[in-house]
């Protein structure tokens, strides 16, 4: 019984924690590999500069809250609670899994400040994660008054993302903040102009975030097709592009602001980040349409966008934003004129 409970909770946690760990691995490779920094340097920085420390901690909690949410009521758990088993044992297993989910966080603090600091960091993050995962924000449910098909369709898609993809949103925000902090560190440690490192970080982080919602938006478009028969194909494509480009722009701004916390970049980087994020977000419309029946295709498409845009920024600097925007327009335009319902 206890073993089964451990499997149920562990599987639910692993499903959401493993992508987080993989993403953190990429960021760690960039931050520590690109700068020669050691974990100790980062933990010292976090302790010495409160803004950095708070940003790092909030970012980690945002990343792992979806893991906690998945552990609260995993599939198959309801009937197991009805069986005669020790609540204490179930609670202990849940706590152990919650602490294990903090692996990278514990390794950072353990490597930087010693095993005790690592243990304290893991236990406190696990407790905060489980508390934050139980918070439910009240949903505003007044009748909307949309003017025109594009706004209505965009409104529905935005609601779809917010109401059904909370974990993906949290991951996207955290990746962007992670990327921005990493870019800020690289720029600061190597005394580089911050613009290109920040744009490269956005080129990698924003598509990763958009990949989590692009398929959802495409599926939302299909799900409401019978109710939006009078909408033109252009309106349907535009609504998807607006929602995904806005999401991408927000991720770009988050990354640029995260870099600003470390004193790297300023308003120009924020504006450029928003523009690049918006262009990358718009490419998600095509990736979503391509992968509506197979989510792997969305990931492949957005990975392609990330690699191409990062290489373009490396070669052309900020001028590459115009190229990414042109490519996005070229990818979305055919959807507005494609035949079919």
């Amino acid at each position: 019984m206890i073993t089964t409970w451990a499997r149920v909770v562990g599987a639910a946690a692993a499903e959401r924690a493993l992508p987080v760990w993989a993403g953190v691995g990429v960021v760690v490779a960039i931050v520590f590999g690109g700068t020669g920094m050691q974990p100790h340097d980062l933990t010292r920085l976090a302790i010495g500069e409160r803004g950095v420390g708070a940003a790092l901690a909030v970012m980690w909690i945002v990343l792992v809250v979806p893991v906690g949410a998945a552990m609260i009521d995993p599939p198959g758990a309801a009937w197991m609670r009805a069986l005669p088993s020790s609540r204490i044992a179930r609670g202990a297993i849940t706590a152990a899994v919650a602490i294990a989910a903090q692996g990278p966080w514990m390794i950072l603090w353990g490597s930087g400040e010693g095993p005790l600091a690592g243990a304290i960091a893991g236990i406190s993050a696990a407790a905060i994660m489980m508390i934050a995962a139980r918070v439910r924000l009240p949903m505003r449910r007044t009748a909307p008054t949309w003017r025109g098909p594009v706004r209505a369709l965009a409104g529905v898609h935005a609601r779809t993302i917010v109401r059904t993809r909370g974990a993906a949103i949290a991951r996207a925000i955290a990746w962007s903040a992670c990327g921005g902090l990493g870019a800020g560190l690289v720029a600061r440690e190597n005394e580089l102009d911050a613009l290109v490192p920040i744009l490269v970080a956005i080129a990698i982080a924003a598509p990763a975030g958009i990949a989590g919602v692009a398929g959802t938006v495409a599926e939302s478009d299909r799900a409401i097709a019978w109710a939006s028969l009078a909408a033109s194909r252009g309106a349907r494509a535009a609504a998807q592009a607006i929602v995904l480009a806005s999401s991408g722009a927000a991720l770009g701004v988050i990354a640029a602001i995260a870099a600003m916390i470390l004193g790297a970049g300023g308003p120009i980087e924020v504006a450029a980040g928003a523009a690049l994020g918006a262009a990358l977000g718009a490419t998600g419309v095509r990736a979503g349409a391509w992968g509506v029946r197979d989510g792997t295709r969305v990931v492949v498409g957005m990975t392609g966008a990330a690699v191409a845009s990062a290489l373009a920024i490396g070669a052309l600097g900020a001028w590459a934003i115009a190229g990414v925007a042109a490519a996005a327009a070229g990818l979305v335009a055919p959807l507005a004129s494609r035949s079919g319902a």
Partner: protein
């Protein structure tokens, strides 16, 4: 004439589902597609509504082709209210959000308050679709189809999941819409519903209209 289906054919993969369908429906009338499972009723309604593309023939609504050029296509579809058999709006939307979406897309006024009240949508206005019963979902979808008082209602098994009172409301609403000059096309296995509506039956079998003479 509000609906003119000419020589319509639909394929699904290699299989021909509909062949040489000719159906005409006048304003102010109700027609019911009847026939066995797999006869092609739902496929025909989906092709009329512009959801499933035909490989031959034409569907004209108010003289505009549902499958024509962009502007004509939008003009035709703006006159339509459609509920597929498995109509299931996204579960996270509320009833009012679905109604607002349809009104905005059609650029029409919101659903008439009297119709909304008769369908009992006030009580479920802010309820998420995935927390409604089957019958409540059906009422919400019927409400969505009635937004903008369309000239042609295309309803697949419209009484599916409705309780007796809901079915009565459906019958009276559809008859009133027909008396007001709209046309209604339903697909149904419910002979009682077809009779109560006073609908002209159009029988389908094997993807063809059984009695072409009766289809106009």
């Amino acid at each position: 004439m509000i609906l003119d289906v000419r020589d319509l054919g639909v394929r699904r993969g290699e299989r021909r589902v509909l062949s040489a369908i000719d159906v005409r429906v006048e304003r102010g009338t109700i027609a019911a597609l009847v026939g066995a499972n797999g006869a092609g009723k739902s496929t025909l309604l989906a092709a009329i509504a512009g959801v499933l593309a035909p490989d031959r023939g034409a569907v004209l609504v108010g003289g505009a082709s549902v499958w024509g050029a962009e502007r004509e296509r939008r003009r035709a579809r703006a006159q339509l209210g459609y509920v597929p058999e498995a109509a299931d709006p996204p579960g996270h939307l509320t009833c009012d959000e679905v109604l607002a979406l349809v009104a905005a897309v059609k650029r029409s006024a919101p659903i008439e308050p009297a119709v909304r009240a008769r369908l009992g949508l006030g009580a479920i206005a802010n309820v998420r679709i995935d927390r409604m019963s089957l019958g409540q979902r059906r009422r919400a979808c019927l409400g969505a189809a009635l937004v903008g008082a369309p000239a042609l209602l295309v309803l697949d098994e419209p009484d599916n999941g409705l309780d007796p009172a809901g079915a009565e409301t459906l019958v009276s609403l559809l008859r009133e819409r027909a008396e007001a000059g709209a046309a209604v096309v339903i697909a149904s296995h419910d002979a009682g519903l077809v009779e109560k509506l006073g609908a002209r039956p159009i029988e389908l079998a094997g993807g063809r209209v059984v009695d072409p003479a009766g289809s106009s």
